[in-house]
């Protein structure tokens, strides 16, 4: 399909004419993948702030237990002098994780970047199903509202952990946060799931069917490969979570007994249910949630590859091994879920099988790290803000990945399961890894989205402070885990084993406060640059992939010419041309001499 716009190309930046009706038509009802991507971006960044504030609540309680918690203590617990209640703590960590996983990381990777980049990078004018795309964003809003409502039900949110294990979550009296808040939680997560499924279908179809001429699968940028594989993961894993969520809903509301065994006495009432098995939920939940963690990292890995290649001015080292590694991680990701359940009481024989598979999944991740380093080696490294974030992804992912080996070792996991060692591991891969990659991606693709550059000095300052503070917050968690410091304890220091760990926790909390405060620089940079940042042309970074041939920002239909692809995405430093980059759409030198290269 060729682009057809004859009037203004830049719909995205043209001021809305015609008042509210036009605004609604243009933004709320937009089916343009770029607008939808930006809608996802801003929604998820707002939830990032909320999730971060919830984390600060956790860190405050761990640093100064039962002291007056700023703002929220005065608001909700003024009768107790601002001292939070224990059930509020369960709400804090439940909602922090829920928000970060379902409302930030997954939607920002697939919904924001997937949406924005996929058609642009493959040379299409939009997604295969634009209306479905619009709906996938719309379905986030019921989720936002439902979870938002749960913040106003006692005790201010769901409180059974983001893992929502029954019987705690499935019996109404079992926990304060297991009443209506938990129902809202289940419904909200289901809505996110529906949104993700719609997105998956769209991305898979678009990538398979709408690539520009010449764009073979092995000429796709790694960002697209990772989005592709991630979409497959979503499509196969999500239905299991949705089914499990419904089963828990019916256990709670209709008296079914999927997860509830007989003979339970909760809150002094004998439960009238039976025949269920709590471990069933764990299997179903982790069957989705383990692939989910790869959903939460693969797109980041893809984007990091593109950024590192661009700023090393060198081809990606081992493109095909990188693709196979992404596939390997995804494939293996389906058979390792039991490593979350080593001590759960499941048959110990499964401990051995899952341990082997889990050990093996470290391999493709290691291959990727080596390939990134191979990309930097021998290049000409430009230390721009996106490159700093992408490089820190590699450096931090090494830590996160290596720490995973400890918990893959089943006997060791007996000790470190449900301790802060696990918390350290997943915060390293999810925050120091994915979130840093996301920040880098925002700096990198911002010019394409908004036609202006973000401030480079502020960007570097943002990077530097975030990097220092995140390591200060999360690295000591490894040490805490070695002591056996458990997760989810509102007051761990009354145990003799953990009493001496409060100073370290205070240090970590202060770093966490610094880290959240640093994001103010980022927020100001985003908004300020949108109106006052220096305007840029199509390819400020001199990158190879197709999106940099479109205007900044692209109009409807994306390209003002039909893209034709002649080569892979990473031909930086090619001897065929004088420039140190070589656009995918640039015809090779022989063809150029005989014409203008267009069909």
């Amino acid at each position: 399909m060729s682009s057809t716009t004859t009037d203004s190309q830049d719909h995205a930046t043209t001021p809305a004419r015609g008042g509210v009706g036009h605004f609604i038509g243009k933004y709320v009802f937009s089916r343009d993948h770029k607008i939808i991507g930006i809608q996802f971006l801003f929604s998820t960044l707002l939830w990032f702030l909320i999730g971060g504030l919830l984390a600060l609540g956790i860190r405050w309680q761990l640093a100064w237990p039962w002291s007056n918690m700023p703002v929220i203590g005065n608001l909700l617990f003024s009768a107790e002098g601002g001292q939070i209640s224990p059930e509020f703590y369960t709400t804090l960590f439940t909602m922090h994780a829920t928000v970060m996983i379902f409302f930030v990381i997954i939607p920002i990777l697939a919904g924001a970047f997937g949406n924005f980049l996929i058609p642009l990078m493959i040379g299409a004018d939009d997604m295969a199903f634009p209306t479905l795309n619009m709906l996938s964003y719309w379905f986030m809003w019921p989720a936002f509202i439902l979870i938002g409502m749960s913040f106003f039900t006692p005790p201010y949110g769901a409180g059974a952990g983001w893992t929502s294990y029954p019987p705690l979550s499935a019996m109404l009296g079992a926990a304060p946060g297991s009443e209506s808040a938990q129902t809202l939680w289940l419904l909200g997560v289901t809505c996110v799931g529906i949104s993700s499924m719609m997105g998956s279908v769209n991305y898979l179809t678009t990538i398979l069917q709408m690539r520009a001429p010449g764009m073979t699968m092995f000429r796709l940028p790694l960002t697209i490969w990772s989005m592709f594989i991630t979409a497959i993961l979503q499509a196969f894993a999500l239905p299991v979570l949705t089914a499990a969520g419904f089963m828990q809903l019916t256990d709670r509301m209709l008296g079914t007994g999927f997860f509830l065994p007989e003979g339970l006495i909760v809150n002094n009432s004998a439960m009238a249910s039976g025949g269920g098995q709590p471990l069933l939920w764990q299997h179903l939940f982790w069957f989705y949630s383990h692939p989910a963690v790869y959903i939460m990292i693969l797109p980041a890995m893809g984007m990091v590859s593109d950024i590192i290649a661009t700023f090393s001015r060198k081809p990606i080292f081992g493109y095909k091994p990188m693709v196979y590694s992404i596939s390997g991680i995804a494939g293996l990701g389906f058979i390792v879920w039991g490593h979350h359940m080593f001590v759960s009481g499941m048959n110990p024989v499964l401990g051995m099988t899952f341990m082997t598979a889990t050990m093996m999944i470290a391999l493709p991740s290691a291959v990727k790290v080596f390939n990134w380093m191979g990309t930097i080696w021998g290049g000409k490294v430009q230390f721009t803000t996106p490159m700093l974030f992408a490089t820190s992804f590699v450096s931090m992912f090494i830590i996160g990945g290596l720490s995973g080996i400890f918990m893959a070792a089943t006997p060791v996991d007996i000790f470190i399961h449900d301790t802060y060692f696990i918390v350290a591991h997943f915060h390293y891969v999810l925050f120091s890894g994915t979130a840093m990659a996301v920040f880098g991606a925002i700096y990198f693709w911002y010019p394409k989205m908004f036609g202006r550059m973000m401030n480079e000095t502020a960007g570097k300052l943002h990077f530097f402070l975030t990097f220092i503070f995140l390591n200060g917050t999360f690295y000591p968690m490894h040490i805490l885990g070695v002591v056996g410091f458990p997760r989810r304890l509102a007051d761990p220091y009354h145990y003799e084993t953990f009493a001496q760990l409060q100073p370290m926790n205070q240090f970590m909390s202060m770093c966490a406060i610094g880290m959240v405060a640093t994001q103010i620089i980022f927020a100001i940079n985003i908004f300020y640059s949108m109106f006052r940042g220096p305007k840029v042309g199509r390819n400020p970074w001199k990158s190879n992939t197709l999106e940099w041939t479109a205007p900044s920002p692209p109009g409807h239909g994306n390209f003002d010419f039909q893209p034709i692809v002649y080569r892979g995405p990473y031909e930086y430093g090619s001897p065929e041309v004088d420039t140190d980059y070589y656009l995918q759409t640039q015809p090779p030198p022989e063809a150029e001499s005989s014409g203008d290269g267009e069909t």
Binding site: P86, Y89, T90, G159, Y165, P167, L168, A174, A175, P176, P261, I265, Q277, P278, K314, F317, G318, K320, P321, G345, P348, M352, T356, M359, M360, A362, V367, M373, W377, G378, G379, K380, V381, F383, L388, T391, S395, I398, L402, I405, F406, A409, P411, I414, F415, D418, P476, I479, V482, P486, A490, D491, Y495, T497, Q500, L501, P503, M504, G573, P575
Partner: protein, 279 residues
């Protein structure tokens, strides 16, 4: 600026290893008590050794990759590096090498630990190997549990078998939160939950088992030193999850018997006169 950023990334392996070294060294203030808690079990050292082995291995990889990353960033800084870019798409040999080597290492680690796992979770102590005289078969006579620990929101209810060695009979001794265990004996405990998931965690014995309602589970160990230690709940069980602190008292068999008898007597107390004081 490139130099500055390269050095920043160099700090990662340096400080990263540094923190672990300071924490692991015994008696190193201010990180005293920031490493493994005291191990008072016969088999806990296996887990500690496994952990340390993985730590050295991953530590070496961490340092090597961290140094290499720093070195590449330093050397190939565009503002300082005059040479042209090495236009190379990869190396088949290297890919094979760095696929096979980690694969073999990881498989080795996996297989190497299976025995430790089986010992902890699959080989329950037996009194006798049964008629076939082979351990691990279905006719083995399993060692009965000394105590049944029921996790409940938010405490550990204990039930010691009485003289009949059976739990669930009127001569059981009931307790809460304070678990006494004789030292230097193979102990089996039964685990139950009354309401939701809990997890029985003994940091000083390197043991953990999630307690699943509706399942009867067992844990076994041998304590090698007397003392008082913590029992921790390691699975979110509600608002009082942090309150489920128990006390593990490991004592000699004589002390244990004496304590159990005192508890039994108190539990069977049939007389009270105001001149006595309780507690």
């Amino acid at each position: 600026m490139g130099r500055f950023w390269s050095l920043l990334f160099l700090l990662v392996p340096i400080l990263g290893v540094g923190l672990f070294v300071v924490a692991a060294l015994p008696n190193s203030a201010p990180l005293y008590g920031h490493w493994f808690p005291e191990d008072v079990s016969r088999d806990g050292f296996i887990i500690d050794n496994l952990f340390n082995f993985i730590l050295y291995l991953t530590g070496a990889i961490f340092v090597a990759t961290g140094l290499l990353l720093f070195w590449f960033l330093w050397k190939y800084d565009a503002t300082k590096n005059p040479e042209p870019v090495k236009f190379i798409h990869g190396s088949h040999t290297l890919e094979i090498v760095w696929s096979i080597l980690p694969a073999v290492t990881l498989l080795f680690i996996a297989i190497y630990q299976m025995d430790a796992w089986a010992a902890a979770k699959m080989r329950r102590p037996i009194i006798s190997a049964g008629a076939d005289e082979i351990e691990g078969t279905s006719d083995d006579q399993l060692k009965p549990p000394l105590v049944e620990i029921t996790g409940r929101q938010f405490e550990w209810r204990l039930r010691y078998a009485g003289a009949d060695q059976k739990i669930g009979t009127p001569d059981d001794v009931h307790g809460v939160n304070e678990l006494h265990i004789p030292v230097d004996e193979d102990i089996v405990v039964a685990l139950k939950s009354e309401d939701v998931l809990h997890s029985f965690f003994l940091p000083n014995l390197r043991l953990k088992q999630d307690i699943v309602p509706g399942m009867k589970q067992f844990m076994w160990f041998r304590a090698t030193r007397t003392g008082t230690y913590d029992i921790v709940c390691a699975e979110l069980c509600g608002w009082g999850h942090y309150k489920m602190r128990g006390r593990l008292v490991i004592e000699s068999r004589e002390d244990f018997d004496r304590w159990l008898q005192a508890e039994r007597d108190e539990q069977n107390r049939v007389q009270y006169s105001p001149s006595e004081t309780d507690e």
